[in-house]
Amino acid sequence: MPELTSRRGLLFGSAAIGAGALLVGCTSNESDDEPAANDQPAADDKPGKQVTIGFAGPQADHGWLNAINDNAKSRAKKYSDVTLEITEGSNDTAAQIGQIETLINKKVDVLVVLPADGKALTQVGLKAMRAGIPVINLDRVFNTPQAYRCWIGGDNYGMGLNAGHYIGEKLKGKSNAKVIELAGLDNLELTKQRTQGFDDALKNYPNIKKVARQAAEFTVESGQAKMAQLLQAQSKFDALWNHDDDQGVGALRAIEQAGRDDFLMVGGAGALSAFQAIKQDSGVLKATVLYPPTMAASAIDLARALGQGNGIGGMAEFEIPASITLYSAVVDKTNVDQYMSTGFK
């Protein structure tokens, strides 16, 4: 209990600072008549006007989400003109709405929101926009574009697509090739999208057939359990796509326990452990498809640009785009070093 009250005190304290920063922020926000703006890269290190960015994400109970928070924090720290108001992560929709409303009341300049549930948080996104606070919607999309100024996120369908193409190319020329899929939580729409992309890509390769699919729960434990069953069910197959590198830790454990190495495995998301395994090239894991948590850093850049009335460097427009879908790059031995620093634990 004392902890709670002290934390609340802290929040109120920073609210006052936020309100102070607002005076500066507001004036600069209205003036979008700075012609030089579009020439500036978003991640310009040159200090501009002070911007207070409110950040609300879900509970970081998973490696990827944890990386999102880290990326946002470290990116914001790089800018002397950015103050980051980060909330306690929550998976409870009601709690997250409350947190975002607090940020609205504090009158932050820009909001970055990664909703626990995109649909359920649409209303509070609209509320912020109506209150004049532009919202950067991170990854899980709101119901209506009116609820955000810019959406930036990963491409689940593209992940599946790229994983499918990578496997397709690797198995080219092999007749009657069999692949299996270890999916993520089946309750989530993103899992369906990843599977859809994967299936669509495989249609290009008539020699390949998907023979099995089981859904794990993004956890190591479930990854191990489901993979063990899949290995028992399929005594012979050529490739495996695993949606998520976290559950992949368990999947790799099951593969090791079953003593199997007669197939290639492609992961998903981009965990550090996966990158390391790919670099080592001693096991079945040959590649992973990115769902980059660096998007949180980009979101901070976008929020800063928005707050300072700038556009994105390298683009002709004065304004930042309304929607940015990130590319789900395939990381394999050839390019893994480049991505190593982005890998999350």
Binding site: Q59, A60, D61, H62, G63, L65, N66, D186, V211, A212, R213, Q214, A215, E217, F218, T219, V220, E221, S222, G223, Q224, A225, K226, A228, Q229, L230, Q232, A233, S235, D246, V249, G250, R253, E256, Q257, A258, G259, A271, S273, K345
Partner: protein
């Protein structure tokens, strides 16, 4: 009038009074019917598995797989069976497994090697059990609430320790225990631990004063108290026992998954309660069966296995799991009431 009163009385007392075995039959029959019906359900599942996937299902490796997958939740269920038999409930088992598994796999703990991991997992389990037990036995809290609070705090603490990160185990001796090379005569070490815990659990419940007190407290706590049993101390021990089982299960999970994660043990509480109940342990307390609980766990694991082998998706799996819980309980009730 006075003399021919005796024959009907004897009819209710047809069991000969000499020698224990025939007299036991009355009580044993009830338990046996229950167990038999569970074995029947398991047999049906095995037949289904054997028909649908003869090569993959009826295979030594698959048997090893099913038993291995059953061992973590199985050990938890043995502890849960004691708690439920005593009329209590432990909702915190999954969270305790999570906390114990992450505490035992931190970088600092791993420096102490195999022993450090095992010791930490067991100690964390016991510690959580002790808190549960003290709150319930001496703090007068309802088990449901006390263990619900423990669920929340242990999960929170587990998240705090890991920061959402997966803690990979790097101790070879721990990892090796989960590999095929460690199998003794084809039996995985995890399964051996499960078997030993089951046997010890069975003996404690059925052959010791501790087991008797557990049953007495669950059957009628007031009567147990007035019979001179220290009900509160017994309750404390029971939650300690459940915590201990969670600690052991956490260690098994670390071996199995080669890592510790705060999401470990997800919904174990429901799986363990469901297995104990379909096994024949009374949710209201006073009757518990380790054999039934273990059969319950095996039934669930076998279902999961058959579904995965047949490539059925999780939506179908969940529906069928619910249906089978209902079916198993109905079959049991039917067979128990007709005998």
């Amino acid at each position: 009038m006075t003399q021919h009163a005796s024959p009907p009385r004897d009819s209710t007392d047809k069991v000969p009074s000499t020698g224990a075995p025939p007299a036991w039959r009355g009580l044993m029959a009830r338990a046996d019917v229950r167990t038999l019906s569970l074995l029947g359900v398991l047999a049906v599942l095995i037949i289904i598995g054997g028909i649908t996937k003869p090569d993959e299902f009826l295979d030594t490796r698959n048997l090893q797989l099913v038993l291995t997958q059953a061992s973590v939740i199985g050990v938890v269920t043995v502890g849960m069976t004691f708690v439920i038999t005593s009329g209590g409930i432990d909702l915190s088992v999954g969270a305790i497994v999570a906390l114990a598994s992450v505490w035992a796999t931190t970088v600092a703990t791993q420096e102490y090697g195999f022993g450090g991991i095992l010791f930490t997992a067991v100690l964390v389990g016991l510690g959580c059990g002790l808190v549960n037990g003290l709150l319930i036995a001496y703090g007068g809290m309802v088990p449901f609430i006390a263990t619900l609070a423990m669920l929340a705090s242990a999960r929170g603490l587990a998240l705090q320790i890991t920061d959402g990160k997966t803690q990979i185990v790097t101790i070879p001796s721990v990892l090796d225990l989960g590999e095929r090379d460690a199998y003794v005569l084809g039996v995985p070490p995890l399964v051996m631990v499960f078997a030993v815990v089951t046997i010890i659990g069975w003996l404690i419940l059925n052959r010791t004063t501790f087991g008797r007190r557990t049953v007495a407290v669950g059957g009628n706590a007031e009567a147990a108290r007035l019979a001179g049993i220290d009900v509160r101390r017994q309750r404390l021990y029971l939650y300690l026992l459940s915590g201990l089982c969670c600690g052991v299960a956490a260690f098994l999970l670390i071996v199995l998954a080669g890592s510790g994660q705060n999401t470990n043990g997800n919904l174990y509480e429901l799986d363990a309660i469901a297995a104990a109940i379909i096994g024949g342990t009374l949710l209201s307390g006073g009757r518990g069966t380790i054999t039934g609980s273990v059969l319950g766990v095996l039934i669930f694991t076998t279902i999961t296995n058959i579904f995965a082998l047949n490539n059925l998706q999780s939506d179908v799996q969940q529906i069928a799991k619910g249906a089978i819980i209902v079916a198993a309980v109905l079959v049991q009730r039917r067979t128990a009431s007709t005998t």
